[in-house]
Amino acid sequence: MSPGMIKVLIIGVYLGLLLCLGIFSSRLFKGTSKDYLLASHSIGPFLLLMSLFGTTMTGFALVGSTGEAFAEGVGVYGMLASSSGIIHSLCFFVLGVKLWSWGKKYGYTTQAGFFRDRLESDKIGLVLVPILVGLVVPYLLVGVISAGKAIEGATRGDFLWMSESGGIPPWLTELVICVVVLVYVFFGGMRGTAWANTFQTLVFMVLGVVAFYLIATGLATKSVETGRAHTIVDGERVVRTEPPTGFLDSLQIVSQEIPKSRRVRAQVDLKDQIESVEAPPQFRTRERLDPWMFFTYMLIPFSVGMFPHLFQHWLTAKSGNAFKLPVVAHPVFILIVWIPCVLIGVWATTGLINIPPPIASDPNKVLGFMVKSLSGDILGGFLLAGILAAIMSSLDSQFLCIGTMFTTDIVVHYGGKDRFNDRQIILISRCFIIAIVTITFMLSLTNIAQTRVFQLGIWCFSGFSSLFPLALLAVYWRGLSKWGAYAGVLTAAGVWFWLFSASNFGAIDNWSVDITLGEKTIHTMPVATIFLASAAATIIVSLITPKPSEATLLKFFPEKA
């Protein structure tokens, strides 16, 4: 059997297992839309941890972080991973628990349902739902494109009859995973999604650690064999000839080469690579990052507070205490996934491995290429299944939430509760999901797929982050009015679109909003401008417009009434 076929077979078996899981969970389906959409509030701490973590870690976390570390260096961990450990748990703590409590008490299924009730405004749903769906689509694209690129990079040369590069063409991978996720979401609903998320999160975390071990030891062994590794003897850099003695030794062999960037490999022959080059340290430090950009990146993880799919997961919790485990474990789980990915990305910048130009010019393919180059066919197949697991564990929740928003906030809300039975509601939800997934798949075939996954994700998350002030104020501020909410949402949408178009719709990498103070220019992330504009509009307009009625305020703030 050819190497490519072995990988395809393993991935096929894995996808089959997922389908079985979805079908099995459908046997527990109670037949109601509440059970289909919220698993009847039955999810305990462990399943909640795994489903929340699996949902937040997507292609952005694995494929994107490796690619971005390859392009920009190790600073990518501080930019998004350690800040997410603080901010994501903060969102679960200050928003998730409270919204779960109100959701269970008042029967909310979606964010629009909550805001309509809290702000006494029916129309807020009409403003919010299209914006949220519009932001979920690029998030779906991030996952779909990541899967296609990763598999293409990992099967490069294995299927010469299928594409120019010999890899499985991205459109095929994207089509297959969309269909598989659709099937298990349709069969299992939210319960199936939570189970599949747990299974897939375990798979990608375990396989991620295995991949890290294999890539580190494989790269160190190859480097020594090809005379690319060095060691210090009597203060002199000499070529190392002794093979690695273990895992730690392998890590040291490959990591000490990190300063040798792609520039070195491009300019220097293999034989004099070690001796004659002053290694630039940018991939080992944050030399390439602007401190103000780094600071304003911290606003990106606030997006978690307004992800509609996470809102839906919060509502599945069995009790408020079920949130404790996710809140505590989330930062360490991020560490377990991101540190290996970032290290693999910066190892790819060293002179220890040749990254072909087609891979180097598309950082999304770096992880797949490293897996293919440094692990065997069977293990490589499992590792690719792990990458797909991370991606699909987000796609499923996103698919489900867009169907939920459409049916709950539009169809049933305006059509009337008695007009549709549960079976019809689920059918309408599935049709809308198929329509959105089809649009996403078609978009993935366009030039958008050439955008760096990380950059696309950042714009998408910036939109969600800029709606965070609205969510926070709705939960903690009695003074929030519906006009303030409209102002905040429309300001966020308007400023986001203005800046996104100024960045040539994401085509300009690392685009920033530059502010000149005297003779100094500060570079900031666009999210800072959008976030502040949205917060200011919400607060200022709320201060000068009427608040909701006392009855509504009493409902949400009884202790302050």
Binding site: S255, Q256, T285, G320, N321, P331, V332
Partner: protein
């Protein structure tokens, strides 16, 4: 205790902006770039702070009564499912 927890979270945000580490290219244990090791420690510290929050400052007056919750679900289902 709640204010102490929020103070610790703000402290985490402040130490996260480690401009003093910007050009440090030292490798911790010979393999982990300093900036990566520093921020890995922040991730671990965040978990510890959230453990304190979960232990001593968890929100009160939640809808944690399962019976009440089940009744609410049943009522919603009677009223037309997910709507």
């Amino acid at each position: 205790m709640k204010y102490l927890i929020y103070g610790l979270i703000i402290a985490l945000v402040v130490v996260h902006q480690d401009v003093w580490n910007w050009e440090n290219d030292h490798l911790v244990f010979g393999f982990l770039p300093w900036t990566l090791a520093y921020h890995a420690c922040i991730s671990i510290a965040a978990s510890i702070v959230w453990f304190l929050a979960a232990s001593f400052a968890w929100p009160k007056n939640l809808e944690d009564d399962d019976t009440a919750g089940a009744n609410a679900v049943a009522a919603t289902e009677r009223d037309g499912g997910a709507a």
